[in-house]
């Protein structure tokens, strides 16, 4: 196997290739301010996973179809595999780890657990981002509308029904407390 191993005469690189250019970014990731140079070609999810060890966001397809890599960028759900890390410069990134610790996903996580809205869990962090977006911005969504909203998130295990039911249960609970709040 000798010939197969890279030898000591490895040629030093001449001019920096485009693929090696880095740019300094400053980004708020969950509760932490991160300042470091990143490869300009690096995607946000790779930056989070490889540089910051935030492995809760997953790579399912790497071209924006499956949704497993979703994170919040300035409060908006983005595909971590289609967003370059440099695009996060000056912005705030929230991942499933940070949102969990902040308690912002607590209701959804409890509902997902109680309705068995996950099996292997690989899609869950991305699914929870979409779910949080529904809770925040579409509080009156029907089951059909929930199905539409989560249609950018691929789950091979559950058949989706439990996920729809879990999200719906949080919306119902929130609507009930809103009514209760208004009547007080």
């Amino acid at each position: 196997m000798g010939p197969g191993i890279a030898g000591a005469q490895r040629q030093p690189c001449g001019e920096k290739r485009m693929s090696e250019i880095r740019r300094q970014i400053s980004v708020q990731v969950n509760a932490e301010r991160v300042e470091r140079p990143v490869l300009v070609r690096q995607h946000l999810v790779d930056f989070l996973r490889e540089e910051l060890d935030l492995t809760g966001s997953h790579l399912g397809c790497e071209y924006g179809v499956c949704g497993a890599c979703q994170v919040m960028l300035d409060g908006k759900v983005v595909r971590g595999c289609l967003t370059l890390a440099v695009r996060a410069d000056g912005k705030q990134v929230q991942t499933v780890e940070g949102l969990s610790e902040a308690g912002e996903l607590a209701d959804l996580q409890e509902a997902f657990l109680n309705h068995n809205a996950l099996q292997c869990g690989f899609c869950s962090s991305g699914m929870l981002m979409t779910a949080l977006n529904i809770v925040r911005h579409h509080p009156d969504a029907s089951r059909e509308e929930i199905r539409e909203h989560i249609s950018g998130n691929y789950c091979r295990c559950t058949g989706y029904q439990a996920i729809v039911t879990a999200i719906e249960s949080v919306l119902v609970k929130n609507r009930a407390s809103a009514v209760l709040g208004a009547s007080l």
């Binding site: 196997m1 197969g4 890279a6 499956c66 657990l113 068995n116 099996q119 539409e148 091979r156 058949g159």
Partner: protein, 797 residues
């Protein structure tokens, strides 16, 4: 998964502990950490000196490798090594996937990395290892390979013609064939009043697990040992195979399954790139990781199905089915897949066709052929979706020809619920099935008569709705008859080790693995119930060959039925041993004692005598206070192997309600129902979502999913943007109900439930579509039933 279940939930569910957890929809505590993004899939692991491998893959479906130059690759930044097939082969022996009981099955030796010749687009031809994945991928483009393209077989009919033989040493392109004919076959068909016949086609599809295939191998030269972190369903099988093919003693190979992001049969096979990764760890004496990217998934994860099958059914004019006649042709790519072989799918179609019915005559012919497309092998429900769709489609054809209602026709022909044990014409033996109970329950659940009335009313308005039924049988809890008798070193037995820890909690270690189905949760429920502790006091460990008992793992719907019974038997033995300690402490007869709610109690009065924590404390730390001749045994192991029947069959029936737009060919799924008899249901919530997930996977194959190839053998839709999978908005709500006929082959009585959904859904939805198209004279005979195929069936394109 090797992680323990989460720390105790806030509330103590003592009431449930008293009644037992079997049959309760307890939340799966182990999933909490997955919801917090704290799962540990293989790509999440970090090890010192970890190297990353990527594979250069053949761009041609069939080509001779004339020369390969990797010297420029080696000069690229971060590259640690680059290896061709011959170099890998020095460390990893090739394999041939055959089984003794599939008589005549043949295949060619397959190497981890192709040496002279690539036989499908995507076969690995070189491995490139670098400090980072990025560097390895960047370096790959510096590889120079000179190929000579060879003739390509893409269509299975061409494989049969044999103008060109893919593996000349095999003589032809046939991997496996089987013929079966009952004595009364000719007579039955001769006396039939009606014979209906049709040919159906089923495309290739694939598993599309959300987590791609993943392996991280860590070789320790000091003691010639390997730890392989592997997203696999069968860790002990992999231990054996890696040991034998790499020449490392079995006990020096440890397989650890961490969290696995979906399997469905995709992750139960031996993959060339994964074996090469393990070999590279040995060659480089450091940890090496391989994570398939999604393109690689589409060209190297096993594909499945691809059948063209003709089916005939003979009936009397009164509507009695006399027999079935099957001719199935299926293609598997250039190699039979190791070690389970690619003959099983077709074999299952032969075994299962006609499954739910009481005919006596059967003939089947099967041919399994090689082609230059990606390999196919066992994928969720192995053969069942084909057998069920063929049977149920031709049953509907028969009902139509006789002018009988499809439900009534089935009721007339389903095997009677009191006819068991029953031997089926293909030789299968059924312990006890409940077809009629399931049919009755389904018709009630879906309000069949009213649905038919609604369908008829809407038809007058030009709305084309269809109702489809599909009865099914399913292979579960396989005995050694599945693989072991054929010579495969795949365990049919599973084991469970239970330990009472000093604080009174239970540690449960099981050889069955977890990929999200909830196996760990159901084992916890069984252990807690039998021993008498609350669920939050149970921790389950699976997926580590160095820790758990030996066993088969998770496949063929065997986890709950086989692993669950091992847990039950171990729990019974542990309880006896705990009571022996308590009896010694209390100086009472053990027969007077019981364990309820984490404490030893008086069996008759229920009076609490000792908390289990006190038993643990004395047994472990103060055994000096126990009688001199007494030794406590608070760790016990039990195993279970199903033996009485080749398989513990389950049964069920599904129904689909669809609306077809005859102008666009679009099919809208309105509703789906599934009644399943999987014996004892340990956790209804988990079983129901397993069934729903299975149904959706079946619907995907029936409506959307197809691996398309060009005539040159190039995949045309190897991306998730082009290969359609079911997403939430197009899937219906699915209603589930159960009939419960526990198997008597175990005390637990559980049968499998993991594949039933996938087995029955394609048949149900195909029948529904054809029911809708009937008045328009259309009939779709090809899956997936894409809009263009629907329009073609209507003669519109």
């Amino acid at each position: 998964m090797n992680a323990r279940m989460e720390l105790p939930a806030q509330q103590s569910d003592t009431e449930t502990a008293v009644k037992g957890y079997i049959g309760k929809s307890s939340p799966r505590l182990g999933s909490k950490r997955l919801l917090q993004g704290r799962g540990a899939y293989i790509d999440d692991m970090r090890l010192p000196r970890l190297a990353h491998v990527v594979f250069l893959r053949s761009p041609h479906a069939h080509a001779r490798i004339k020369s390969m130059d990797l010297s420029e690759v080696l000069k690229q930044p971060g590259v640690i090594g680059a290896f061709n097939g011959a170099q890998i082969a020095e460390y990893c022996k090739p394999w041939v996937a055959v089984l003794g009981h599939l008589k005549g099955i043949k295949s060619a030796p397959q190497h981890a990395v192709a040496i002279d010749r690539a036989c499908w687009q995507g076969e690995p031809v070189a491995a490139i290892v670098a400090q980072t994945r990025r560097q390895a991928e960047d370096a790959m483009k510096f590889a120079r390979v000179d190929y000579e393209t060879l003739p390509v077989i893409v269509e299975m009919e061409d494989a049969l013609k044999g103008d060109f033989v893919i593996h000349p040493e095999l003589g032809d392109n046939i991997c496996f064939q089987r013929e079966l004919k009952t004595d009364d076959f000719d007579a039955a068909f001769a006396k039939a009043d009606l014979v209906v016949e049709k040919t159906y086609k089923f495309a290739r599809h694939t598993g599309v697990t959300n987590e791609t295939r993943a392996v991280l191998a860590d070789y320790q030269p000091a003691d010639h040992s390997l730890t392989v972190y592997h997203a696999t369903q069968a860790p002990h099988m992999m231990q054996d195979i890696i040991s034998r093919h790499l020449g490392i003693p079995e006990s020096n190979v440890r397989i650890v399954c961490k969290d696995v992001g979906g399997s469905f049969g995709i992750k139960v096979h031996v993959y060339p790139d994964e074996m090469a990764t393990v070999a590279l760890s040995v060659m480089l004496r450091r940890p090496v990781k391989f994570i398939a990217d999604r393109v690689e998934s589409f060209i190297s994860d096993i594909h499945a199905r691809e059948h063209t099958a003709s089916i005939r059914m003979a009936c009397t004019k009164d509507g009695d089915i006399l027999g079935f006649d099957l001719d199935d042709l299926t293609a598997i790519g250039p190699y039979s897949v190791y070690p389970r072989t690619s003959g099983i799918e077709g074999n299952q179609v032969v075994n299962l066709t006609g499954g739910p019915y009481r005919h006596k005559a059967y003939r089947a012919q099967l041919k399994v052929v090689f082609t230059n497309k990606n390999v196919t092998c066992q994928y969720r429900a192995v053969g069942h979706p084909i057998a069920v769709a063929l049977t149920e489609a031709i049953v509907d054809e028969g009902a139509r020809a006789l002018g009988m209602d499809p439900a009534a026709f089935r009721r007339r022909n389903l095997i009677a619920d009191d006819a068991y044990p029953y031997t089926f014409p293909s030789g299968l033996k059924f312990e006890k099935l409940s077809h009629h109970q399931c049919l009755d329950k389904l018709l009630q659940l879906m309000d069949y008569d009213n649905l038919r009335a609604e369908q008829a009313a809407l038809r007058k308005q030009g709305i084309y709705r269809g109702i489809g039924l599909a009865a099914m049988i399913e292979v579960t809890n396989p005995s050694p008859a599945f693989y072991g008798v054929g010579g495969a070193r795949i365990s049919a037995q599973d084991g469970a080790t239970l330990r009472l820890d000093p604080a009174g909690m239970l540690n449960v270690m099981v050889s069955v693995t977890e990929q999200g189905q909830g196996t760990e949760a159901v084992f916890a429920q069984v252990a807690a119930t039998i021993v008498g502790v609350s669920l939050e006091n149970v921790r389950v460990v699976t997926g580590d060959t160095a820790v758990t008992p030996y066993g088969g793992g998770t496949w063929a719907s065997r986890g709950a039925g086989i692993g669950g019974e091992a847990v039950l038997q171990a729990a019974k033995a542990l309880k006896t041993n705990i009571l022996a300690v308590a009896a010694a402490m209390l100086q009472l007869d053990a027969a007077q004692l019981d364990i309820v709610d984490n404490a030893v109690v008086d069996r008759l009065t229920g009076e609490q005598k000792l908390p289990l924590a006190e038993v643990g404390r004395v047994a472990y730390f103060r055994p000096d206070t126990l009688p001199m001749d007494f030794q406590s045994e608070l760790t016990v192991t039990r195993h279970f192997t199903p033996r009485e029947f080749g398989f513990t069959f389950t049964n069920g029936i599904q129904a689909s309600y669809v609306e077809v737009d005859p102008d666009t060919g679009f099919i809208k799924l309105l509703k789906h129902w599934c009644v399943e008899d999987c014996g004892t249901v340990i956790n209804p919530m988990l079983v129901d979502e397993q069934l729903r997930g299975g149904v959706v996977q079946g619907l995907g194959g029936a409506l959307l999913e197809e691996c398309l190839y060009s005539p040159e053998g190039q995949i045309l839709n190897g991306s998730m943007a082009d290969y359609l999978v079911p997403m939430a908005f197009e899937m219906p709500d699915i209603e589930i109900a159960h009939v419960c006929t526990p198997t008597k082959t175990s005390e637990l009585g559980a049968k499998g439930a993991g594949e039933a959904g996938t087995a029955g859904a394609p048949g149900a939805v195909m029948n529904a579509v054809n029911d809708a198209l009937q008045v328009l004279g259309g009939n779709v005979v090809e899956q997936p039933m894409t809009p263009d195929r629907v329009l073609a069936a209507l003669g519109k394109i």
